[in-house]
Point group: D2
Chain length 331, copies 4
């Protein structure tokens, strides 16, 4: 459902154009120093409107702590973080309600919830909900001081030259997909649980929860499928397990091996393309031409790195607690 | 840990060269007709030694029901299935214990379990454990009579011509990777839960539990990252939600949309390549030459389709039960 | 942790003297009509200050829906309910911080959270958190229209005459314990899961989460331990399973049998007795005399019935969903 | 379902007259020395036929390790333990199938599983399944070397003089109930989680899974409901939290406080009384006289202490791991 994690547990809630979005975070070690300032840099990175190709919608995105913090430290009780939705223009969405937008959850949400879903701006399916995830990620990062998580866009529209990739989309007046790579250094070996809770399973589970993600690969990933064993195997160099190459992306047998964790996600083009589309009109029952209104990212991949970092941090913090690599009371 | 699922729950156990491997399956609807014959076809497909490029190790792989079956029907209580390990040659592994095998879990398992792990044949990390998963998958398939799950190898060593791909590896005397594609027809819309338990999350979680899987992509997957929105969006054709294309692979917003579910996994080359390797010797602390003994698949992807089908069936049966698409008592 | 339930899931948060308390409720069927008015009657019952023996602290206790409601119906997404804490007098607690109050969580919370806990008014351990539980219970009740849940105080201070029991405490200027009985009619048979998730297990789990509960018994309960089998066995009268007596309290083999569900909880005397106490002073390390300040219930059992009803409703709604006795979309 | 625990997880399976009963135990620290000899003393205590008032049915009850053990130590992988059912006389049960036995699960199991349940000897509802639980308990005890768990019968048929209580039943040719008390010394403070996973919740959950348990009370329990606060509060004597009395039974605010854990369970009389009964005949639809055949305990409470110890150990080991009081690799 809307929860993730075994010991470090997050519960997400909210709708794009409802009153708020937010998250409840259970399992933060008591004593962890924590203020809004710890969250703001990542929340700022998540915002659109700052760079070419992102939505002009701007929310203050200020994280209101509603529980779990006392004297600027985590108490050990659940931390609730709220974000108000102030800058919504639901009217845009009402108008196009007759068209379930291709690539969006409109049609499936209507089927699943019998028409009771909050459809405005994608409702509970909106990427706006990742605000809470980014907040949880910032806390998770702080729980793992020696661990460095960094994600970045490595490809837009098939181009490694990101500017070129983006300009292609701007010129085509179309949205475009991209690839985001995440690297984690300082991660200890022994994380991950057999059989079902491999590091790959745990990270992929939450990575696929990020809207628009359609692929996840670790280390050489799909390229590994084209390789010989003698090429792919990472020779072990020393008693600490350092490997001379890293085709495995830092995970062997589902367990972290102490080398850099490396993985990539494929992000589909923003479903809300500016282009005219031809699809079902719910009211007439026929396919008709229509255009998407509202403010949207041309390339959602551009906003994904900080979200992917957050998802990764949440997954790893849970595995770290499970493996007793984080104390439950902060010194 | 070694469990998967929320309502349809599987618990896996066993070691490659221990006494047995098996699985406990909770949540099978009472009344489902079930005998060993229902499991044997898929178990037969999982076995090696039948085709070029698979291990000559042969196990009878006969599924012994130890609980949960009465009068050839599921009782509603947990079903326990046992496979005996009769055909083991642990001596092969003892000899090479001084080398933690690159690409295998030897090194990480030793770190994680402090040297107490059963290392013979990979122990609990062995692909032999997928026997239980295949059994569970056969049961899950039977629980969903209208749903058809089919997986097949679509690429070996980068070649769509599988014979060619495999021959390349045989000629090179090396192991090789591959891609397996899975297609599911007859799946109802509305499966999957927001935010964290998307169909992609649920399937990827269990798919990454299959040994050697390093990538999972749905629909167009990584190719979607290279596309424009106008290319990727699947237009909706009618009130049932049929789409004119299927770049989404049957999942939008994390929810199944009633179209064919399509996804692929990347399988790395068998870590046990016949080629000589140069890696750490635990006893000397130095990197040295060595060769892998034992019986191994040249291309594990060849045995993966039925395992992937099983993983998919287990994940979908759980989502179907959660969405009340399967009755808990069989009529 | 702070979550309960498998399909109908509640996540509780907040502190007595923090900014708020509340709850996130996942798994409410889409379409369920829901407004604050549905919650207010039970919330009103939970409040103190209305009857002799309850705390004069008064909160407005108005439930603010922050997510999951659209057009006065549940959307199928998580419902977040907030209660503001307006009427706090933390100063009362600061003064007596040097004495970890006997019978309260002060000492254990300090040990568990290393002194980082929000100690004001019991913080996260306060009975104030049951406000959220009562709100969830009101929703759960509404999900089960044919099921009637009713709890009431049956004993105070050992007296069946409640007025007498309470007056004894008032006269003694002491707090006092009590017994609350809960009866559920209209409950279908077949609820509960073997082996570990019996109806008794599920209900007792959440009942013991209510502050001050020290015992739970079903049907004849502890009296059953004094009986012969021929006295205790409930003869079955007809094909619907109606029994001629109900010593089992409606549960046999852990499964509901369609008869009335009956159980009782023992509630200890309010730890905050008005009497002077002699216990550890943290600052001096010695036992010293002190008195509890603040506003407290003389008999918390008086406020417990609606909380116990809520806990019961939450547990039963989860079991009902699991047994597919509630549709996930409301018609 | 048939699983319990968050980190130390047990999965139970089997039927009374099927091929076997057993348990899968996940989360045992790697390196823990473990052989059948560690389990036999508790398994021996669980057996009937040794003392007056217990069933003459005798099983060898030898625990066969099927996974998770290597070189007489836990490997960190799931431990599977099997018990064969050799000494069954199902014929006894076939004959009385027309009468759903009062106090047994026959009727509810038939309703829940649509007649597909294994009804022989109670099937999956039989107390025979506690064999696996006792095995898991013995392992859990070994994981907590400083913790001493001891349970004993304190009352039979309302008599503190156990011989007297039992003789009353023998004379009456009837089965009889009893009370079992469990005491745990050496338990650290800080176990248990707010809000829902109090120590009481966790222990009561598994205690109510034991067949025939109808009540659970901690410390003074139901007697606390008759007390004044000044009587019930346990004064704290020193900085370690030692209390001068122990009405709380070692748990305050749901958290262990380092004092002795004390609780009791009420066990109903064995449902299979030797007395003639008058209840529904499924075949005729009428109430008729009948007598129970088979071998049964006159007082199941007599066999309960070791089962309750096991349940307690399993619950506490899980809380200890969660609180990081047990290392996941054994030194």
């Amino acid at each position: 459902m809307n929860s993730f994690g075994r010991i470090f547990r997050v519960h997400i809630f909210g709708e794009s154009h409802g009153e708020s979005v937010g998250i409840v975070i259970d399992g933060v070690p008591a004593g962890l120093p924590l203020t809004a300032d710890d969250l703001l840099p990542d929340l700022e990175r998540r915002k659109g409107g700052k760079q070419k190709g992102t939505t002009p919608r701007q929310e203050a995105d200020y994280p209101f702590f509603k529980s779990g913090i006392f004297n600027n430290k985590a108490t050990g009780a659940p931390i609730t973080i709220f974000f108000e939705n102030n800058n919504t223009r639901s009217g845009d969405y009402e108008k196009q309600r007759s068209f379930p937008r291709p690539g969006h959850a409109d049609f499936v949400a209507h089927q699943k919830y019998g028409g009771n879903e909050d459809f405005r701006g994608g409702g509970h399916f909106s990427a706006r909900l990742t605000t809470g995830l980014v907040a949880a990620g910032a806390i998770a990062k702080k729980m793992m001081p020696g661990v460095n998580i960094h994600a970045e866009v490595t490809e837009i529209g098939g181009e490694k030259d990101l500017e070129l990739g983006l300009q292609k989309a701007i010129d085509a007046k179309d949205s475009v997909g991209g690839v985001v790579e995440c690297r984690v250094s300082g991660l200890p070996a022994t994380l991950g649980e057999p059989f079902f809770d491999s590091v790959e399973s745990h990270i992929a589970h939450i990575a696929f929860a990020i809207p628009a993600v359609k692929g996840v690969e670790f280390g050489s990933g799909f390229a590994a499928a084209k390789m010989f064993g003698s090429q792919h195997n990472d020779a072990i160099e020393n008693m600490e397990g350092k490997t001379s190459s890293n085709h495995a992306g830092g995970i062997v047998g589902g367990i972290s091996n102490g080398n850099e964790l490396v993985f990539r996600i494929a992000i589909k083009p923003t479903a809300s393309t500016p282009k005219q589309q031809h699809s079902l009109n719910w009211e007439t029952g026929n396919m008709e031409d229509f255009s998407i209104k509202g403010r949207h990212d041309l390339c959602v991949a551009l906003r994904a790195p900080v979200i992917l970092e957050a998802a990764t941090a949440v997954a790893l913090a849970d595995l770290m607690l499970l493996e007793q690599r984080i104390q439950r009371v902060w010194k």
